[in-house]
């Protein structure tokens, strides 16, 4: 790449994304930007989100315009210092466009694809990206699946191997959830590490996945290099029981949408496709029963069954919370044991790892080294 010239390219959010549409630039050409600034809104079939700046500098060119549809990797804009000559930037853009080849369809040429393992008689689907280092295991929350990490997985995998799994009862894994307890899921995660011959892993858990990470750390501290707890369960008794019940019982788009909107600080992120995908999941035989079993074990009567605050800090622990989390209150981050790193992000909700992905990824990167 030419000296001092940085590209802003169409991101790849999730396995199925092939192209994205420019919904609009959030900063003007010529503006000074710093890493983490939201610079352009992108829409895909599945999700809409802003691309955050990875580099500091001046936005010198908005190459793609509102309404343009670009393949993954396509050139959106150019960030460079003021000192770089316009002619150099123009030459760079011309060269990039002349040589850019859209990525081939991953499904057909052995690119990223999910795999599965048998654990305790259940098929567990997972996705692996990156290689080397101490592995990271991403554990989604209640009603989620490995796609909850679509803004994190690839970024974290730049420096190490990162696995994301579908818990039993979720995604494309078997729908048998045993007694539905956190302990059951913790055994599955430990079994997953066994199956992949992982000695020790950094566990990153969101929501109920955080409680599962805590339970693994309690049962098998030697297997856990660190835990990162995002909007986590397992640190207090409060949880929005109406959300859990609404998510389980809603059978139609209109009924489900208001519940899902509680997850995000920006309700506009709840697209029709997201709701359709959640309904498609919930309509699979056995899912509603599995979710009810989990809810009854994990949060009976609208309160979390078990807090594991003492486990936080027994292994290196990072806690990340959206200050406006409507599902599990950020106050659960208060007063945790010494040595627990805690970041509460203003203006964020329960899905902070999606809505503030760059910052969350940076914090995790720092933690797991």
């Amino acid at each position: 790449m030419s000296e001092g010239i940085r590209t802003v390219c169409m991101p790849k959010w999730g396995l199925s994304m092939k192209e994205g549409k420019v919904a609009g630039w959030l900063v003007d050409e010529g503006a000074s930007i710093t890493p983490g600034d939201e610079i352009i809104d992108i829409e895909t079939e599945k999700i809409s989100s802003a691309v955050e700046a990875a580099d500091a500098g001046t936005l010198r060119r908005c190459v793609a315009q509102e309404g343009d549809v670009l393949p993954v990797g396509g050139l959106l804009g150019i960030v460079a210092d003021e000192s770089v000559a316009d002619a150099d930037i123009d030459a760079f853009v011309t060269d990039f466009q002349a040589n850019f080849v859209p990525p081939e369809d991953d499904d057909e040429d052995g690119g990223p694809a999910t795999e599965s393992v048998e654990i305790a008689g259940r098929t567990i689907r997972y996705l692996t990206r990156g290689e080397g280092g101490t592995p990271v295991i991403l554990i989604h929350g209640f009603g989620g699946d490995l796609n909850n990490w679509l803004f994190n997985h690839e970024a974290l995998a730049a420096k190490r191997v990162v696995h994301a799994l579908d818990l039993p009862g979720h995604g494309s894994s078997s729908k048998d959830v045993g007694d539905g307890s956190i302990g059951f899921f913790a055994d599955i995660v430990t079994g997953f590490a066994d199956a992949l011959e992982i000695e020790s892993a950094h566990l990153v858990g969101h929501s109920m996945g955080g409680a599962i990470a805590l339970a693994v750390a309690r049962a098998a501290p030697g297997r856990v290099a660190s835990i990162t707890l995002i909007g986590s369960a397992g640190l207090g008794s409060d949880i929005d029981g109406d959300y859990l019940e609404g998510f389980i019982s809603a059978e139609r788009r209109k009924d489900l949408k208001p519940h899902v909107e509680k997850l995000f600080s920006d309700p506009a992120l709840v697209t029709r496709q997201l709701i359709n995908d959640l309904l498609a999941f919930k309509r699979i035989d056995g899912v509603t029963a599995a979710l009810s079993t989990v809810r009854d074990a994990f949060a009976p009567g609208g309160a979390q069954a078990e807090a594991m605050r003492d486990v936080a800090g027994s292994v290196p622990t990072l806690v990340i919370w959206g200050a406006g989390d409507q599902i599990i209150p950020a106050s659960h981050a208060d007063g945790l044991p010494d040595g627990v790193d805690c970041t509460v992000m203003e203006g964020q909700g329960h899905m902070v790892q999606m809505e503030a992905a760059t910052e969350v990824n940076r914090l995790i990167d720092e933690r797991v080294g």
């Binding site: 999910t114 494309s172 729908k175 139609r252 029709r272 498609a280 309509r283 699979i284 035989d285």
Partner: protein, 337 residues
């Protein structure tokens, strides 16, 4: 959800999974077990187009070839349903409804009502419809509006493999008679289909594409024609919202009204003959319930009021195409400025 399957495979999988789950589910019809050109059980053809292929090998006598007498075997299926089975009867072509209509509209559709709610008739009648396969006037009609007219029947017209599987599973589990209409031009269409069983509720339309300028309400194979037209219109700066009704009875009136409230313009696209079809039904319903939201007249795009021609050239002209939809959308835009 990475697995893809065809519309035909999705239907076969729904039947197999429900037969596996519930032993009262039986399949009956002309050639559904064996059929044309086969001599064994393993290679049994499974209907004229192979939709039920493999079921006889797995479920034996629960897959029954019947005599070529629709009045007899549709009547038998209706009777068996009242007596505790969940039969899925195959009426090979919807055009053959004429010879078994009493069994459907006077018997199956009426039992729950006439026996004071004490009788249930959980029968599914799977049937092929639609033009485009050079099958001529007696094998190409879109007669779902006739069934939709009758209280007591549920009528399903899936447009995609995903919907075909989920709606057929719902049809089999449903305790009322369901007419399950399969467009023969869609059997080879591929799409994402989860391997696990799942049921899609009746009466929930699908918004296939979002847009703010014109609503296109449609169903069955015409959903894909609408989509083709909408892609072309998008290049002209016209954004269409496409609503796939999925089931004509029950009908998701709310979603139709909401899309009209959003766009203020409506094109109704239906492959059926133009009189008393889904296009007239939707247009009338919108006029009555959402007239104030309309910025201009509604346009209907349908086949002409003629039998389906056998001539290739005429059949191609007969079926509504994307060009006709584009023309209608532009006319609606023009008349509502």
């Amino acid at each position: 959800m990475a697995r893809t399957a065809t519309y035909q495979q999705a239907i076969n999988e729904a039947l197999a999974q429900e037969m596996e789950r519930d032993e009262t589910v039986v399949v009956m019809g002309e050639d559904v077990a064996g059929g044309l050109g086969t001599d064994g059980e393993r290679d049994a053809w499974g209907g004229p187009l192979g939709i039920t292929k493999g079921l006889y090998g797995k479920y034996g006598d629960r897959v029954m070839d019947t005599p070529i007498s629709e009045s007899a075997f549709i009547g038998a299926a209706v009777g068996a349903a009242t007596a505790g089975l969940r039969p899925v009867a195959e009426l090979m072509f919807i055009d053959f409804m004429g010879v078994c209509f009493d069994q459907i509209f006077n018997q199956a559709a009426k039992f729950r009502y006439m026996f004071g709610g004490k009788a249930e008739t959980p029968v599914v009648i799977r049937t092929m419809y639609g033009a485009g396969l050079r099958a001529a006037a007696q094998h190409s009609q879109c007669l779902y509006p006739v069934f939709t007219h009758i209280p007591g029947l549920k009528v399903v017209t899936p447009a995609t493999p995903y919907d075909a599987k989920g709606l057929l599973i719902q049809a089999i589990r449903d305790n009322d008679p369901v007419i399950f209409c399969e467009h023969k031009g869609l059997y080879t269409l591929e799409g994402d289909v989860p391997e696990e069983p799942y049921a899609l509720p009746f009466g929930e339309a699908n918004i296939v594409r979002e847009g703010d300028d014109v609503s296109i309400v449609t169903l069955g194979r015409m959903v894909h024609v609408a989509d083709e037209a909408a892609s072309a219109l998008a290049n002209d700066g016209i954004e269409c919202e496409i609503v796939d009704l999925r089931t004509t009875s029950p009908l998701d009136e709310d979603t139709v009204i909401e899309t009209v409230e959003n766009t203020g313009r409506l094109v109704v696209l239906d492959e059926a003959h133009p009189r008393c079809n889904m296009a007239t039904d939707i247009a009338a319903m919108v006029c009555e319930k959402a007239f104030d939201s309309l910025k201009g007249p509604i346009k209907q795009v349908t086949a002409p009021h003629t039998p389906v021609p056998f001539s290739d050239t005429l059949e191609d002209l007969y079926i509504p195409d994307a060009a006709a939809v584009q023309k209608a959308v532009k006319a609606v835009m023009e008349s509502s400025k």
